[in-house]
Amino acid sequence: MADLTTEFLGIKSPNPFWLASAPPTDKEYNVRRAFEAGWGGVVWKTLGAEGPPVVNVNGPRYGAIWGADRRLLGLNNIELITDRPLQTNLEEITRVKKDYPDRAIIVSIMVPCEEQAWKDILPQVEATGADGIELNFGCPHGMAERGMGSAVGQVPEYIQMVTEWCKKYYSKPVIVKLTPNIADIRQPARAANAGNADAVSLINTINSITSVDLDSMAPEPTIGGKGTHGGYCGPAVKPIALNMVAEIARDAQTRDLPISAIGGVTTWRDAAEFMAMGAGNVQVCTAAMTYGFNVVKEMISGLSTWMDEKGYTSTQDFIGMAVPNVTDWQYLDLNFVTKAKINQDDCISCGRCFAACEDTSHQAIAMSEDRVFTVKDDECVACNLCVNVCPVEGCITMEEVAAGQIDERTGEVVSDDYANWTTHPNNPAATAAE
């Protein structure tokens, strides 16, 4: 069994699976159950300033979208930060950390954008013995209307300013949680870096309305006939998160900034992908909220099995390995040619590849009278749509046309020279290859 012990910002945890700041980490009761199930760490649900806590709506807080068999694919919420008194949370954090010294406990914080507010809360958090803090600059609903959450995260100057305050009044690691509700994720990451953040975590939830109740003509979740946008998360947001993580991991200014990745992690594979893309660990919420805390067991065994298969002995061995392979479109090799290939033994003759290709793509799949589907190499542009719509995994594959072979579509011999758009004759701005 590979050792999953992970050190992130000097904080040790028995595995890289942390629960994200969210309802599952709002109370001592939940967090103890999480640790018993095996979670490596938690980011405690966001604390607010001393005084009367926020209140939540008393109607539904979540909306969702589903795939086949009502598998939950995306979850949206309009819940606010913790609605329990600050002191209660602080006492519980202290107790739990004392009982689980080997697990990471990070405290998420969101207080007004005033230095005094941070100066007040940080020593109290420090006193709990928690391992670090996470600045919630991400919540897109409710708190943003009060000048907090994503309202801060969307202004790089505020991010830097608040991060600097935290570094001033708190001695342990400071993680800045980023909102994806922004045009260029590198800007807030650079601001956090400039403010001396120890790490960034992303993504927070995406602004969303999941559905409309067509009887009441109101967005869901509906509270007394009205609805509001909420934060979207779950498997559906993973591709968005993966790209944002990659953008930060490969940005010259932030490439050394540690990342805790969040966004639809559901199995070990999602976690491995985020870590390969530069994340030091991952945070999970929707998978736990959908299936309960025991999902971490598969994540642990799955990651460990995969690491054994690959010969990795530590998570450090593969963190960031995929980052050098993320590039800009203009640098992709235009001489790399593939063709779809349908494995007739695996094919169940549903014809979805045919419908997709014939109706919406390149008419590159032939259908015989007895429902045998074959790729026409002289039409196939290798778009991969057939692979994606095929219900049988691995039935259709993209096969590389080796250099020296003829690409039947273009009639040209495939070259093994690397050639991209920057040098392509059709590019008006091409730099001629000398």
């Binding site: 086949a68 068999d69 009502r70 169940i348 003759s349 549903c350 014809g351 979805r352 045919f354 419908a355 259908m367 429902r371 219900p391 049988v392």
Partner: protein, 444 residues
């Protein structure tokens, strides 16, 4: 107090009412909404779907399943009923395992097809429970059509003709419509009087006048119909039953399976329906299975199906064979009846083993005797009472693809006509297609 299954002879009340009710409950219970959602989600929405090609009525199956997925089972029902007005019954009785579900790509992929039949039932049941009728009649054409025989083909033709604006008189020799849906087919496939309810629902289209107790060749003549109506559609089924042609066939306790099934289907109280202790059914088709299984369900101790060829040649599908076996019916292959023995009433049946060479069945000389106080003949039905004016093809009325007979103005479909398997769904398709052809012929 129920009669024991060990009581010899043909006896009533071998099971009490509770036992009968349990035995004759729905073979495939209706889906609830959740089950339907789970089942519908399995459909891949295939291109040019094999299931649709396999359906004799060409129902757009991926479309109707998608309509269920999207929350509109009543629209799904409309999609079904536009092609097959008896979609409710077909959902219950179609041998889907040899039609749509056999070719489902998930059968190929996982050996477990999308349960198309049950989804079809969910959709059609939902629509029928909503009340009303989904179709309306076109403007009256002033044309009248006689339809003879109110089985699946006749009902289908009559509905389509009425919908197109023609006035239809639907004749039947019996006092009740439905044909084999009402008088044939195992009871556990059409529970809660579904066949009759479906006819009632179908007739809501309007424009169809029912005329019972009218039989072709007796109260009705083809010439009379042909001169009295603008068109005639014959769907008279197969009224004759093949004989055993074995000594002892006339003994008490030997009877036609179709007659037994009809009696069972019409029985008010199944505990009052007598059945033997040792029942032997001769034949290998659906009727044989329906008679055998229902005998067992009525409480017979031993039920045997004796079929003269091998399992692979049996008309009943493997699913039906397994159903029979699961109910405790014994399947014997390669045996044919040689004689029924007994003093006035059947007591034993003597079977001769057979060999099949070049498709021909012959006796091997070796015989076996089974105790049998009741013997059902299920060796096929034949055309009976067809008008002489009509040309035959084999033993059926010769028809074109659209049901035209050799006589102008006369169409035929269903089991009495050539072409297609003798299935409810095939009969519905033939009735519908003949109606469309009658329409274009009348309006052309």
């Amino acid at each position: 107090m129920a009669t024991s299954h060990q009581a010899s002879g043909i006896q009533v009340a071998r099971l009490d009412a509770a036992g009968i009710a349990e035995n004759f409950s729905d073979l495939h219970p209706a889906y609830d909404a959740h089950e339907a959602a789970v089942a519908a989600d399995r459909c891949y929405f295939c291109y040019d779907a094999p299931c649709m090609t396999a359906c004799p009525t060409s129902i757009d199956i991926p479309q109707f399943i998608r309509e269920i997925q999207a929350g509109h089972p009543e629209s799904a029902a409309r999609t079904i009923l536009e092609q097959n007005i008896l979609g409710g019954m077909c959902a219950r009785v179609c041998p889907t395992e040899t039609l749509c579900e056999e070719v489902c790509v998930r059968e190929t992929a996982e050996g477990k097809p999308v349960e198309i039949g049950r989804l079809q039932r969910y959709a059609t049941d939902t629509l029928m429970e909503m009340g009303g009728h989904p179709f309306s009649r076109a403007e009256a054409t002033g044309k009248t059509v006689a339809v003879v025989g109110a089985g699946p083909a006749g009902l289908s033709a009559a509905h389509r003709l009425a919908m197109l604006g023609h006035d239809v008189v639907l004749y039947d020799a019996k006092s009740k419509a439905g044909g084999l849906n009402e008088f044939g087919i195992a009871a556990y496939k059409s529970t809660n009087d579904f066949a009759a309810r479906e006819v009632e629902w179908l007739l809501q289209i309007g424009g169809i006048t029912m005329d019972y107790g009218k039989k072709l060749g007796a109260e009705l003549s083809l010439d009379g119909l042909a001169s009295g109506y603008d068109a005639v559609f014959l769907s008279i089924g197969l009224a004759g039953v093949n004989a055993l042609r074995a000594p002892g066939e006339e003994k008490d306790g030997v009877r036609d399976a179709v007659e037994f099934i009809a009696e069972l289907r019409q029985a008010e109280d199944l505990t009052a329906l007598p059945v033997g202790r040792n029942v032997v059914v001769i034949g290998g088709g659906m009727t044989a299975v329906d008679a055998a299984v229902q005998s067992k369900l009525l409480g017979a101790e031993n039920v045997t199906i004796a079929y003269r060829r091998g399992r692979e040649d049996m008309g009943a599908s493997r699913f039906e064979q397994d159903l029979a076996a699961s109910k405790g019916v014994k399947l014997m292959f390669n045996v044919m009846p040689k004689a029924v023995h007994g003093n006035g009433a059947a007591a034993e049946i003597e079977l001769e083993y057979t060999a099949v060479a070049g498709g021909k069945v012959s006796g091997t000389g070796e015989t076996v005797r089974l105790v049998a106080d009741q013997v059902f003949k299920a060796i096929g039905q034949t055309l009976e009472g067809q008008p002489d004016a009509l040309e035959l093809e084999g033993r059926k009325i010769k028809v074109s693809d659209t049901g035209r007979t050799s006589m102008a103005g006369v169409w035929a479909g269903g089991d009495c006509a050539s072409g297609g398997e003798d299935l409810t769904v095939t009969a519905v398709a033939e009735g519908r297609d003949a109606a469309m052809d009658i329409h274009s012929s009348l309006m052309g």
